[in-house]
């Protein structure tokens, strides 16, 4: 474990990469890091401070909590409010405000809401509470989807009758395409996601590079990974007009990805025709749901009558949408750090530690002052 951390935080390597990028960078490059984990790395390790001004980051839509529209958070709240119910979900999800309340507040009012570290715990919860409905509010990109598929598989095997799934799994390539096809995108190159790519393989991004002629470098989450990937982007531009998917995170990512995980996902899940992304709007075929033959597990089917259907947009002062599209920075927002702070977030980007606003709030103020 230490080698996997310290080995990729070696100060000499980071400094060397910094000077190489400074030396070789010849043009302005706007790099979108798709994944919230990269936003976190960039801000936590202060990387903009050791990069030339020609390299700018645009923070992408890759934070599963941030892109969840309010009506789906209201789904979670409606489900958790049902009698005789345990709602289980992951991480920051419990803090995100819906239209009226959050899961965290609901939990304080006595509703049984569990924030899991290990999604598989939901099987244990369902077994230990046979007289209750246990609903797993599943969120995340391709990284967490296979875990949900495994839970479905186990629930079938164990013949669990009291476990339901509310699936909110979304997919990266469709979101990237939605940002690029917008026309006024300022993105010149992408840092490709780390863990998502472990599952999908990097070939998933080849059509995007083909279509928009932007380099994508799949990068690990450590600071040397990000710095090395930026150097590779710079070099791809310097080398001529050929654009391709590059794989810096070769210690974990292959071209084809994790075939076993992909098969699991395909067995239990199907692509949704439409899914609304917070701040971006509807993106066709950008999310998954349970296959029709497993509809008996589907909380959206089973509890349909309790789930609100009205689409809800953010407060008009919140510019999370523009931030997710790369059109604005957190500091451009009038409520950033004032009316909108991590302890009372107005928009989703302030909620999760992977959200751009939260990362800027937590780590970025020093850099901003110096900039």
């Amino acid at each position: 474990m230490p080698d996997l951390i310290e080995g990729f935080r070696n100060p000499d390597h980071i400094k060397a990469l910094s000077s190489l990028i400074k030396k070789e960078s010849t043009r302005k490059i706007n790099i979108m890091e798709v994944c919230g984990g990269h936003t976190h790395t960039i801000m936590k390790f202060g990387l903009p401070q050791i990069l030339p001004e020609s390299i700018d980051f645009i923070h992408g839509p890759g934070c599963p909590v941030c892109i969840m529209p309010k009506e789906r958070i209201d789904h979670a709240i409606a489900l958790a409010s049902l009698p005789n119910t345990i709602l289980a979900t992951l991480g920051d999800m419990i803090r995100v405000p819906g239209s009226k309340t959050s899961l965290q507040k609901l939990r304080a009012e006595g509703k049984d809401i569990r924030s899991l570290y290990t999604p598989l715990d939901v099987i244990k919860i369902a077994k230990e509470n046979p007289d209750k409905n246990v609903i797993f509010f599943a969120i995340g990109f391709e990284t967490t989807t296979p875990m949900t598929a495994v839970i479905v598989q186990m629930a079938l095997k164990e013949n669990l009758k009291n476990l339901y799934f509310h699936i909110n799994h979304v997919t990266v390539p469709e979101a990237v395409d939605a940002i690029m096809c917008d026309g006024d995108s300022k993105v010149d190159a992408f840092l490709g996601p780390s863990h998502v790519s472990v599952i999908t393989g990097y070939k998933k991004y080849e059509p995007i590079v083909e279509k928009y002629k932007t380099p994508i470098v799949v990068a690990g989450f450590e600071p040397t990974d990000v710095m090395e990937s930026i150097l590779r982007i710079v070099r791809q531009f310097n080398a001529g007009d050929k654009r391709f998917v590059d794989n810096e995170y070769a210690r974990a990512v292959s071209r084809d990805g994790n075939l076993k995980a992909q098969e699991l996902i395909n067995t239990y899940m199907d692509v949704r025709d439409h899914f609304r992304w917070r701040g971006i709007g509807d993106i066709p075929k950008s999310a998954l749901k349970l296959r029709d033959e497993y509809a008996f597990f589907d909380a959206e089917v089973k509890f349909k009558e309790f789930l609100p259907t009205v689409e809800l947009d953010d407060h008009k002062m919140c510019i999370c949408g523009d931030i997710l599209k790369g059109k604005a920075k957190p500091y451009d927002c009038k409520v950033f750090g004032k009316a909108c702070v991590p302890s009372a977030p107005m928009g989703s980007c302030m909620v999760s530690s992977e959200g751009a606003c939260s990362a800027y709030y937590k780590y970025g103020k020093l850099a901003a002052k110096g900039a």
Partner: protein, 334 residues
């Protein structure tokens, strides 16, 4: 079937008396407690005393390297010690859930006695309540303590530019250990709580005449909370170097996996010390003679760069504000 604590043990009658005699007096015995008066009559060597209280509700009650009892002694002792005081007397209240295991209670009481031996403090008054099932989560303990000030003037208001900041051990061990235990994160290595009374190392620093300006045990909120509180209280900037802050590899691992900061994890036997410039090596030399302070490190300096802020410098030349911890600790998703 193993012996259980019953509601009658807290009823004030015969069962209460036998619980006190067979358990509490057996292990906590001292002249003052044995008198069994309504209140303890105490004598002090000074008219300058410190007085504090703390309640302990940790779950799980037992964890690697300690339990709630050890914590209840070390926690209150350390609060006294951080004021430059010699811990003298404690009171102790147990709130026990009906049906609690007698053997577990005895184990907890024994570790309280063992922990008191480290600082020479003693329990001089106590109380026991047994509440119906569900009233408390197993066992809650409150301890209050009195200490005699031996080093005057210790305060969070004392920090000025050029003072030096030292941390007495690795940070985050207790928080990570509890989290791992609570969430059943299985670790191949043995991560232990740092829970320990800090009187001995502090006494050694005082006896050696080290010019200490402030002590603070980095409990809830961890190192980050202490540094931010100090910066705000003294209206200064504290600049620390990330590569000087000792963090155990296991703690780093847990933080990386779940998206936490080791600097925000609680400690129960690790303190932050502010000393005058030039006193760093002397402080470290003394601390390093104690097992519980083997990893003590000089982590940074007080400056006037910003008011009320803490800056973390990375070894590759970037820096960021270390924000005080906020909200609930929640793991990241992917």
């Amino acid at each position: 079937m193993s012996k259980k604590i019953l509601l009658s043990h807290g009823g004030g009658g015969e069962e209460t008396q036998s619980l006190i005699k067979e358990l509490f007096l057996k292990y906590f015995e001292n002249e003052i407690l044995l008198k069994m008066e309504d209140a303890a009559a105490l004598s002090m060597n000074t008219n300058r005393i410190v007085f504090t209280t703390d309640s302990f509700t940790v779950s799980p009650l037992f964890f690697n390297g300690g339990n709630i009892g050890k914590l209840a002694i070390a926690g209150t002792v350390n609060d006294l010690v951080m004021m430059g005081a010699r811990p003298k007397y404690l009171t102790c209240s147990f709130m026990i859930e009906e049906g609690f295991s007698y053997d577990d209670l005895e184990t907890i009481v024994i570790s309280m006695r063992d922990e008191m031996l480290k600082s020479g403090v003693c329990i001089v008054a106590g109380d026991t309540k047994v509440v119906p099932k569900g009233g408390v989560d197993g066992l809650f303990i409150n301890t209050s303590g009195i200490g005699e000030i031996v080093l005057e003037g210790i305060s969070a208001h004392n920090l000025r530019p050029n003072h030096s900041i030292i941390v007495s051990n690795e940070v985050g061990n207790h928080g990570a250990c509890i989290l791992a235990r609570r969430e059943d994160i299985e670790l191949e290595t043995e991560l232990k709580t740092d829970c320990v009374s800090l009187w001995k190392p502090v006494e050694a620093l005082i006896n050696a005449g080290v010019k200490v300006l402030a002590f603070r045990d980095a409990t809830r909120g961890g190192l980050s909370a202490v540094l931010n509180e100090w910066a705000e209280t003294s209206h200064v900037c504290i600049e620390v170097n990330e590569n000087k802050i000792p963090v155990a590899p296991e703690v780093k691992g847990i933080c990386e996996m779940l998206g936490f900061e080791p600097y925000e994890f609680a400690n129960e036997g690790t303190m932050v010390i502010c000393v005058e410039e030039g006193e760093e090596q002397k402080t470290l030399d003394i601390l390093h003679t104690f097992e519980e302070c083997k990893k003590a490190s000089f982590i940074g300096k007080v400056s006037d760069k910003y008011e009320n802020r803490v800056i973390l410098n990375t070894p590759w030349g970037s820096s960021r504000f270390l924000e005080p911890p906020k909200g609930e600790l929640l793991p990241r998703i992917c």
